[in-house]
Symmetry: C2
């Protein structure tokens, strides 16, 4: 009984795409959600997988399971390689074609190296579950190497962790790595003291957490210093080679370098045949989040450059969710025959960032918190926003355990599988 | 103050090696535990990771963390490539040398293909965490492929799961895959019914669970049939190719084939320069578990061929643990000057195997159980034997959740990491 004009394709099962799909669940539209991975990922907690605090399955869920109750929604595991706007088709890598009447592009962003793609293998970033387990393997292996390394200089290089980028992800990574070294691991090794590990946070701009008020940045820098993190602001990374990183004129021997410095939108602009709006490759959209000149194509989340009340909307999870809900509502209205454009308005729900196990900063605009109370607010907010009931419970228990004992449960070095391909 | 004759090297951090080391914790011996992985693995539950019931970190813990409180024990992450019994050295892949006065070899077993090594990529086995996540990816991906496959015959091949080997691992895998298909997944897909998936358990011998009494084998076969597993006994697998498997004269189109048919000891016999005692490559030992002619070298667990009261000791976790404890006690006695050989006696604590979510068989020799009550016994026994307190709680909660809701939390298809090597 589906009208042929009701075929809606949503590319991406992240925060934005999932919200759009959920809005359309149970409607008369025939919805297809396509993603190259089978799971929705709670990205804000990805750094906790990378630092062995949480396990992979605590922050990711199969997309088709999240949408299973909506019989009008089909989930397709596949990699999009192009969009034919003339023919109204989405093209998948395996040659399959998904015809659409209306399209929602919500493909997110990857980390970007701003003209230094050769740095990627040297300084991996953190966007996917595999990124997180790779980082976890690298961080834990560095301590194992240090244990076996007789040369003090080489050992020091294994025990030097450099995080590039002082945004929330960089601050959170630096704080938890410092806690891992200074709190969790001492006692586990015999040939060195893990507390001697150096953790450096490198920010090219004048302060960490630039999206927050200066006083919260100052607090974060002090809290990081208290955890033993060396915060270096004002000098960007100028060079990288295997086992070393250059900051300004200083060359540092460091075997573990992590990239948290910038993101680049997915290749959606190329697919759609439009010029990217900025260096990050995002797509400029109309106030209703549709593509200029093509009102049946929407771009949301980190892929879109969205203005709200004269200001650019930040690339954060709540913004993507709000945009997903907005487009979902727009599409529902159209199903009912109402095609009035509905401008999107971003509701800033505040900024949160955590610094290790007992400190955080929270900025709601009208009120600000820092310290232990902010940390509990951060924790409750994240548990609340985790999608599955059971995962909320599991994460809460994990944190409570870690908080009480200082132990980390997910300290597994897993290796690549040499035999079986990616099938 | 350590006597130079007190250097003890334990190769392997599995059930046997860990027990030996724990016995020696706090003694005057200088103990080194070397393993190629950083984690101790609770192998009896590995099939639950492969079938998305449990998460990797619920059944594995860093070896050095388990042994952290014993200051006389050092843990080395490294791959053993040889043992020089003349020079009393263990040789690692990276060129390092671990000198020993007494050596314990507890390196376990890998799956074996009995002259058909070319089957390994076609039918992966289940011994490591990576094996388990690889199987999980293969099983979950098969359903995703089925969803996208228009050709009914090809779709049927994606929905056919063949488990080779009717021992406890094969039975447990077949039961949980059948439950995944028939209970967890229905509702998640739009283009086929997951309940139409076929799960075949192939056993070359006359019955499944051959180590149990015939009436328990019969019960297990009936319980499997009730879950929708097709049990085929009496015909071994005769051939394998990509996408198909031959059983006797029958050729079956199946994209997922899992090997649970046999194990082969680690190359310990080669390292030690002795002839393997059997086709599985195990090392024959004296009644006190030492190598014939070399009373300071012990071989335990799946690597050893041990006789107890005229019968071979089975390759199960409790046997490895008992042997580890026995050798630990022997070494402690020697530290006290007592070198009397102490013969090992195996205490058979019974056989357990589970068939899906509500049935199990338990054989204590003097009494036998089957059905729901046996399942609860099996669950309690496993929770009890899990090493960490928190993991016991986490696994108990996971199971309770799955038992109540039928949902599985760890249904993640994670992929190989294309950028970063094994470092």
């Amino acid at each position: 009984m589906t009208e042929p004009s009701n075929r809606i394709v949503v590319i991406g099962g992240g925060f934005g795409g999932l919200e759009t799909a959920m809005r359309l669940g149970g409607s008369t539209a025939r919805v297809t959600v396509v993603d190259q991975r089978n799971h929705h990922l709670f990205q804000p907690l990805l750094y906790q997988v990378a630092t062995a605090l949480l396990s992979t399955s605590e922050i990711a869920w199969p997309i088709r399971h999240l949408l299973r109750r909506y019989k009008n929604i089909e989930v397709v595991l596949g990699k999009v390689v192009g969009v034919d706007r003339q023919a109204r088709n989405v093209e998948l890598e395996d040659g399959a074609i998904l015809p659409f009447d209306q399209l929602v592009v919500a493909t997110g962003a990857r980390h970007a190296y701003f003209g230094h793609d050769e740095w990627e293998p040297l300084a991996p970033g953190l966007k996917t579950l595999e990124d997180a387990t790779t980082l976890r393997r690298r961080i834990l292996t560095a301590f194992e190497r240090a244990e076996r390394e007789p040369d003090p200089a080489r050992r020091a290089a294994w025990l030097t962790f450099v995080i590039v980028g002082g945004g929330p992800t960089g601050v959170e990574l630096a704080g938890t790595i410092a806690e891992l070294a200074h709190r969790t691991l001492p006692g586990d090794f015999r040939n060195f003291d893990p507390a001697s590990a150096r953790v450096l946070l490198i920010e090219g701009g004048p302060r960490v957490l630039a999206a927050f008020r200066p006083e919260l940045s100052d607090y974060a820098a002090r809290a990081l210093a208290k955890l033993g993190v060396e915060v270096r602001t004002g000098h960007p990374v100028s060079g990288m080679a295997a086992g070393e990183v250059s900051i300004g004129d200083t060359v540092l021997a460091a075997e573990t370098v992590i990239w948290a410095a910038g993101v680049q939108a997915s290749p959606a602009a190329t697919w759609l045949g439009v010029s990217p709006a900025d260096r990050a490759g995002r797509v400029k959209v109309e106030p209703d989040l549709s593509l200029p000149g093509d009102p049946d194509v929407f771009v949301i989340g980190d892929t879109a450059m969205v203005m709200s009340e004269g200001k650019p909307v930040p690339g954060v999870a709540p913004a993507a969710k709000q945009q997903g809900r907005h487009v979902g509502a727009t599409l529902l209205a159209r199903l009912a025959g109402d095609r009035t454009p509905r401008p999107f308005r971003y509701r800033d729900q505040g900024n949160l960032a955590t610094i290790g196990r007992k400190a955080a900063v929270v900025d709601f605009g009208w009120i600000r918190f820092k310290g232990g109370f902010a940390w509990w607010m951060w924790g409750l907010a994240h548990i609340f926003f985790l999608i599955g009931v059971r995962n909320r419970l599991a994460v809460a228990l994990s944190w409570l355990w870690i908080h009480t004992t200082g132990s980390r449960s997910a300290r597994l070095i897993t290796q690549r599988d040499p035999l079986v391909g990616d099938d």
